[in-house]
Amino acid sequence: MSDLINSSLRELSAALATKKVSAVELATLFLDRIEKFNPPLNAFITTDRERTLAQARTADERLNTGAGTQLTGIPLGHKDIFCTKGWRTSCGSQMLANFVSPYDANVVEKLAAAGMVTLGKLNMDEFAMGSSNETSYFGPVRNPWDVSCVPGGSSGGSAAAIAARLTPAATGTDTGGSIRQPAALCGLTGLKPTYGVVSRYGMIAFASSLDQGGPMAKSAEDCALLLNAMAGFDTRDSTSLERPTEDYGRDLEKPLAGLKIGLPKEFFGVGMDADVRAAVDAALAEYRKLGATTGEVQLPNSGLSVPAYYVIAPAEASSNLSRFDGVRYGYRAPEYNDLTEMYSRSRAQGFGAEVKRRILIGTYVLSHGYYDAYYLKAQKIRRLIAADFVEAFKQCDVIMGPTSPSVAFAFGAKSADPVQMYLSDIYTISTNLAGLPGMSLPCGFGNNNMPVGLQIIGNWFGEAKMLNVAHQYQKATDWHTRMPEGVK
């Protein structure tokens, strides 16, 4: 059984199809591991053994009648930002610590329809605002590679859970790097699709124009399988794109000879740690061995991406989080004398410091007299950033660089300085601003033997290409198969 925790989804699928293991046995294996290894890691914040096993039994029935899909019976965890019917959906906040969703997010619905079994809900930065998973109301998630380090964020629970083999796969969301950065810091593969490929319905909104759900797993091949089940047009999300169904794994086995890799000079300048640089350079050398060529491209406005992001994302968040007012659901202050006090106390007590900071920034930049100078200007920068990518993709098929400037850092190292924390996402944010797809995959180890992530940025709707590029690398290397010692 122990090899199952390191198996790919395709291997698990085969094991289930050939009755080497049942969905119930598989779910039990991971539930037991969660029981054993989760307490120090704090990756799962809600589990419900009975509910999980009931889903697994249903999956077994489907498998027995031959009505299963490739994913039927395979367990996964959902980032707690996805509404899951009957499960607490907290978004990592005290504000929703008592909220049990009466409906399923589109992504949850689709993965359930494919027959996947929910192991539980995964910890995250509060309302997805953070890059270290230190802002969760439920406490920080620890990095399985070194429990004194952060797992990255905001999908830190998803990343830690997969790295510790508490689940073979998980959902994540990425607004400025929240899938890719924790994937990098925990040694995983994660993919943020093109904006509009995965429905946002039921995914609690942080910054609507940037948020995108995506898969996190051990390999590109796993991510392709998951994305096939997650993606698709949804009439309940007006920003969801109506496109023909794709098999995102169709190009996995294509050789890379002739692939043109663009290296933005802006991503290889100061700011990147030497250990990260060494691992990324080695990965690029490997790609050249696989037949790819590398060449410099320019993203001249990428330096503006962090400031533009920290205007747009908080602006949208300040409005998106207005519904958390203590009136209909969620946290309400125990004592208040009037309506204004009910609002201010419920929100002051229910939200954590980082969320309040971003609500204040967002409120400020949208205020009368400041809108043009901040929000409107940031939107213009956003278009410039997208235009840079259009130019760059005239010269290359994919763009590569580091996912994060450093390996996982120690708790508290950046939490006192928001700007330092915000710079953790310096290489990932421009992708969200442009709506492009991006991936992170493990490419070695840096200081303190912590994982380093290689970022691939694809052209719009270039998911299949990115997955191909990642998979070929993973066939030639074994970084993605490494597992932290502490959870063996």
Partner: protein, 483 residues
């Protein structure tokens, strides 16, 4: 103090018309009025975490219809924006509305006050969602929230500040009220809040170019209250200025019990709504093809119909305007005319605008509920035209049909024996009788008293209970009296 200044009143109206769609503007919930609280509020309406709005195409069609009906520009691309503020009956903490780029721009409405006609220009009309309701009674010091109305589609219609009296404001509101019902986008029910107006009112010395400071009277839900509220507000503002105080920009409410307006909040308390384009919704794009499709489904518009009534039927501008004040009245009139013939256009107009309108008014009925059908009224008009009955008898026939006493004019005339006597011999005999019985009047007439002649006609008509043809009676009397 003596009043030396002549004041000019400046009014602009903002109207919220609830659109007659089946479901809400951004969710699939029903918008029917009067359901139990919160049963018509789904996950989107109560703003659960993670839900998203999806625009209802039907609401856009309503906006296009309106834009076409007022001759406005329909924006090829308009944008939904969030208007952010906290209130318990606003579940998302923002209202989805249109701000910088509305769906309808410009256009206007013809209004009439007495004999004067005027064209009121519209600034814009935009789509937005309604809020829910806060219920302050029955909850023992707490407030209840009903979200049935939350998300109901509204078209907010804004005029230029072009009205110069409460009468003009009311005339505009009535014309708009008729129009939105005419084109079928709003039921116009003011009691249920389907059509409500805010009036921006200011005054300035006659001849001054700059506007005075305005105050906004909120939620006027009847034409009578609108008139009262504006009249009170205008007088109040003039008094304030004349007594040396200045007007402060404010939002005010009208209290129908006292007939006064009172300040609800001042400019200082005004919200900063932090408008920004809603990232959950794509810009609304309306193609010329879509506009054409909607256009082909529009009924003839009141202004065009009025023109046609004047040109084709020879009616006066006043008559044509009155008859086209509502689609139902115009339709009724057209049925009457189709049966009675165009040559009877003027009498038909008089009957519809006169006796019929008065009788409806007396019974508190709308024309659609009139007990007298257009076919029945046409029957009456035909019998007047062919001299079967007089105008006077016609009123009795009208009343009989109104109360259900007979199926049509002919049946009533027959049953009651009200057929006009036109037989010359019979009338001549009658006239002889009258002359013989009223020698005194005959002498008076011959002595030059014109009034005595009328008395003789009256006697003849009385003897036949009004059935004699009055013209024939008159002619014969004159002949016999040697006049």
């Amino acid at each position: 103090m003596t009043r030396t200044t002549q004041w000019e009143v400046v009014i602009g109206l903002e109207t919220h018309a609830q659109l007659q769609t089946k479901s809400k503007i951004f969710s699939g919930s029903s918008i029917a009025f009067g359901a139990e609280p919160n049963v018509q509020a789904n996950a989107v309406d109560i703003a659960l975490p993670g839900v998203l709005p999806v625009l209802n195409r039907e609401a856009v069609v309503c906006a296009i219809k309106f834009g076409l009906a007022v001759g406005a520009t329909i924006a090829p691309r308009s944008v939904f924006a969030r208007k952010n503020y906290f209130y318990p009956d606003l579940p998302k903490g923002y209202q989805i509305s249109q701000f910088e780029i509305p769906v309808v721009l410009g256009g206007g409405l013809h209004i009439r006050v007495g004999e004067a006609e005027k064209f009121v220009h519209l600034t814009r009309a935009h789509l937005e969602e309604d809020a829910g309701k806060s219920l302050h009674e029955d909850f023992h010091g707490r407030t209840g929230i009903d979200l049935n109305r939350a998300g109901t589609p509204l078209l907010e219609i804004v005029t230029e500040p072009e009205m110069r009296s409460s009468a003009e404001a009311v005339a505009y509101a009535k014309a708009l009220h008729a129009l939105v019902q005419w084109i079928g986008i709003c039921d116009g029910n003011m009691q249920e809040g389907s059509f409500r107006c805010d009036a921006n009112v200011s005054v300035r010395p006659m001849g001054q170019k700059e506007f005075g400071t305005r105050r906004e009277i909120k939620n006027l839900n009847s034409f009578r209250f609108m008139q009262q509220a504006i009249d009170f507000e205008v007088q109040w503002q003039i008094n304030e200025i004349e007594e040396g105080r200045s007007i402060q920009q404010a939002t005010v409410l009208f209290d129908p019990d006292t007939g006064e307006t009172r300040s609800m909040r001042s400019k200082e308390d005004a919200h900063d709504y932090r408008y920004f384009p809603d990232p959950d919704l794509l810009p609304l794009e309306i193609t010329p093809g879509w506009i054409d499709e909607v256009k082909s489904g529009l009924p003839e518009l009141p202004q065009a119909m009025k023109q046609r009534f004047e040109t084709d039927y020879g009616l006066s501008s006043y008559d044509a305007a009155t008859l086209t004040a509502s689609r139902e009245m115009a339709a009724y009139f057209e049925v009457v005319l189709a049966l009675a013939g165009r040559e009877n256009a003027k009498p038909a107009a008089n009957w519809v605008m006169g006796d019929l309108a008065a009788r409806l008014n007396k019974d508190g009925l709308e024309i659609a509920a009139a007990p007298l059908s257009a076919q029945q009224l046409a029957g009456i008009i035909c019998r007047i035209a062919d001299n079967t009955i007089s105008n006077k008898i016609a009123r009795d026939v009208f009343e009989a049909l109104w109360t259900g006493d007979g199926k049509d004019a002919d049946a009533v005339i027959e049953a009651k024996g009200w057929k006009q006597i036109t037989d010359t011999g019979a009338i001549e005999a009658l006239v002889d009788e009258v002359l013989a019985a009223n020698q005194k009047s005959v002498e008076e007439y011959r002595a030059g008293k014109e009034k005595a002649f009328n008395a003789l006609v009256g006697q003849a008509m009385k003897a036949t209970r009004g059935k004699a043809n009055p013209q024939q009676v008159t002619d014969l009397l004159k002949k016999k009296l040697g006049a």
